[in-house]
Symmetry: C2
């Protein structure tokens, strides 16, 4: 059995997620989470990253030094987070077999075979501090093979959640939302995935704007639950150029970030739309764009014909799975659009999903677990990407291995 | 036996050096160079790197994208250079066991345990294009262990050039000059190394300034051979703050680059010093600062007392070994300062050094060979740094391994 620490830092700059798992060496779904640990970035580091990725540096000369310096500094923070998580789990660092660290994305520009991406968080620093073999840079090999280097989680969704009898959409609602489509009894080539549009990104930005920064997000969807849909804003949002792009689609801050949200919110505000109605509408838009993408995916499926007796399960993870109103809206949309089928919505934020035939991984833990397992696939020299999802020309072994061994001194 | 390609790109932005060597798996000095290949950077790439490292970007937002983009692009160029070198050597890429790629340094700020460094040239791209296991990022593990990440070549000097009966200074004259000190019959802990000051950097910049860019360097030292020493300029140059720093010293463009050279040249020019005398003086200064550093090294040696019967060999590589006048001046300085000892100056630019007990590696090939051997040390999990030289707290296994294997597709 292998003990692996997986580390994830998202584009929302929340900080560092570490999951320590136990699993075997095979492509199995046998995963036990020994410990899970979330740590915010220190304010100064968050500010430095934010300044870099949002181009708030006035001096171009500073940027290069910041890239070099943050690469090392983030390595220190990741190593420290692994140390804390191990200690919480009652493990010595020497009991860990492997670390898989996604790193902090500071630049990502998808563009098919012209995709450019940069993650920081030096594997050398992590391996030297922990003494554990460390895998980093998971995205670049897929990009070298002509893919967009993202998403990578669908491979792990395939390993953990494929079912012989249910069709499944695995949905992650982070800043943006994306799905992995796993038809019943699928193999790797059948897996599809796409971004669907904003996840929490527009709702969060809307709440921040309308509360003058007093609230950062709509806790449990409480604001949205009180509002009503504004049809003009809703229709306007669907006119975004993103929805004309071919599948699979990629999106990010450049599409649905603060700037765009501010423009949309201001237009609605100028028409006298109430705050709660704006947040309600952003939430409905998020839910609808998500479920609509399922419909488009199924329409494009040549291989799979859903039978009425089949079960269609939607399994939701990520921060958005805590937004009750958003989940209710998604459930309503699903039952309306797929009324011919048996459907089921499973939120990994609920702790009582044990009735389903899925591993015990909570909504917040899923991405960190995924990078632990991607590290396992890397050292076992198995593929770490799904060309059907990333657009790569071929499967690749992803990641760079920095050895954690100490060198003997003569 | 192992076939390894070593790739080096220096800070002078000359381009890409590739050496393909054959060696065994042990820490031996058995190295055969199968092929060696030099390739200039395409003008557009050279310009992009130069713009980045010399802070000529007006838009800070561009720098981050350039770092991400050049990391991938340089990987492509390195892979292409390996392909060309293999083809010249009559080898299939699949016959290569390993690639060691230093990458292009775009930022390096030495500062003891606060050193920051960044090399570009994605191992993922090289490994994907060539199908060969690739080691990159050689400097960061030493930095993580509290070292300056440089110099790394002294370990390879130790493996290839240590002698049971001769004391040796291995000198590389690139843009800056540095030495590795290998006392007779030394072990790893006895090795010392330091930068000595400018190598070709000030001579090149002086020639470029005085010829309005028509010449880039003093070919064979022809200009310096006609001039005479200007004592005022010579003394002025030795007042540089670098010469007050403690050993081992690090230097670079920030000390002896174009800006500083221009200032020194202009002062001399204003006093009516002739062009050829300025170049002569820069060359004498380069030679003197180099040999003076040998004297300081020997004075600081507590372990070694040179006996008059001992042979002191100075083995010179790098572009500066082609500058005949510089070499004559170094030889004269050595015989004056070490007149009590048997001394020998060996230029690896001469092709007839076969009388000496050293491997057949030419002056220009040495650094690329070094990174091939550092890659060997990395996969064999042996130390890749010398703490006595870099200042690291402990020896480390250097480098990140990107597997070249193709992933099987289900």
């Amino acid at each position: 059995m292998l003990k692996i620490a997986g580390i994830m830092s998202g584009t929302s700059l929340d900080g560092i997620d570490v999951a320590i798992i136990e699993t075997d060496r095979f492509e199995s779904s046998k995963v036990e989470i020994i410990d899970y640990f979330q740590k915010e970035y220190p304010a100064e580091i968050r500010e430095r990253i934010d300044k870099m990725i949002n181009n708030r540096h006035l001096d171009a000369g500073m940027v290069l030094e910041e890239v070099a310096s943050l690469n090392l500094k983030l390595g220190e923070l990741y190593a420290e987070a692994v140390r804390t998580a191990s200690s919480k789990a009652g493990l010595q660092l020497s009991e860990l077999d492997l670390i898989g660290c996604h790193g902090q994305t500071v630049f990502h520009k998808p563009g098919g075979s012209k995709t450019v991406s940069l993650q920081l968080g030096s594997g050398s620093v992590i391996a030297e501090r922990t003494g554990v073999d460390t895998i980093t840079n998971f995205r670049l090999k897929d990009i070298a093979a002509g893919g967009e280097g993202a998403p990578l989680v669908p491979l792990i969704d395939f390993l953990l959640y494929r079912s012989s009898h249910s069709h499944r959409f695995l949905v992650n609602i982070g800043g943006i939302a994306n799905y992995t489509w796993l038809p019943a009894d699928c193999n790797r080539r059948d897996v599809r995935g796409s971004d669907t549009g904003p996840g929490n990104m527009m709702i969060d930005a809307g709440v921040q704007l309308l509360t003058d920064g007093k609230s950062n997000y709509d806790k449990d969807g409480a604001i949205a639950s009180q509002g009503e849909l504004d049809q003009i804003l809703y229709d306007r949002l669907f006119k975004h150029e993103f929805f004309d792009r071919a599948y699979p689609r990629s999106t990010g801050r450049y599409d649905f970030g603060r700037q765009y949200t501010e423009k949309m919110v201001k237009e609605a505000y100028a028409r006298g739309v109430k705050d709660i109605d704006i947040i309600r509408t952003l939430t409905e838009f998020t839910a609808s764009s998500l479920v609509e993408s399922f419909q488009e995916e199924l329409a494009s499926e040549e291989m799979i014909t859903l039978k009425k007796s089949d079960c269609l399960e939607v399994i939701i993870s990520g921060g958005g799975s805590h937004n009750t109103t958003l989940l209710e809206l998604i459930e309503k949309e699903i039952s309306e659009r797929f009324h011919n089928y048996r459907t089921d919505l499973i939120s990994l934020a609920d702790k009582d999903y044990s009735q389903y035939d899925i591993p015990a991984i909570d909504a917040d833990q899923k991405e960190a677990v995924a990078f632990a397992l991607l590290a396992r696939e890397s050292i076992m020299k198995r593929q770490g990407n799904l060309p059907s999802v990333t657009g790569a020309k071929n499967p690749v072994i992803t990641g760079d291995l920095t050895p954690g061994d100490t060198a003997d001194f003569e």
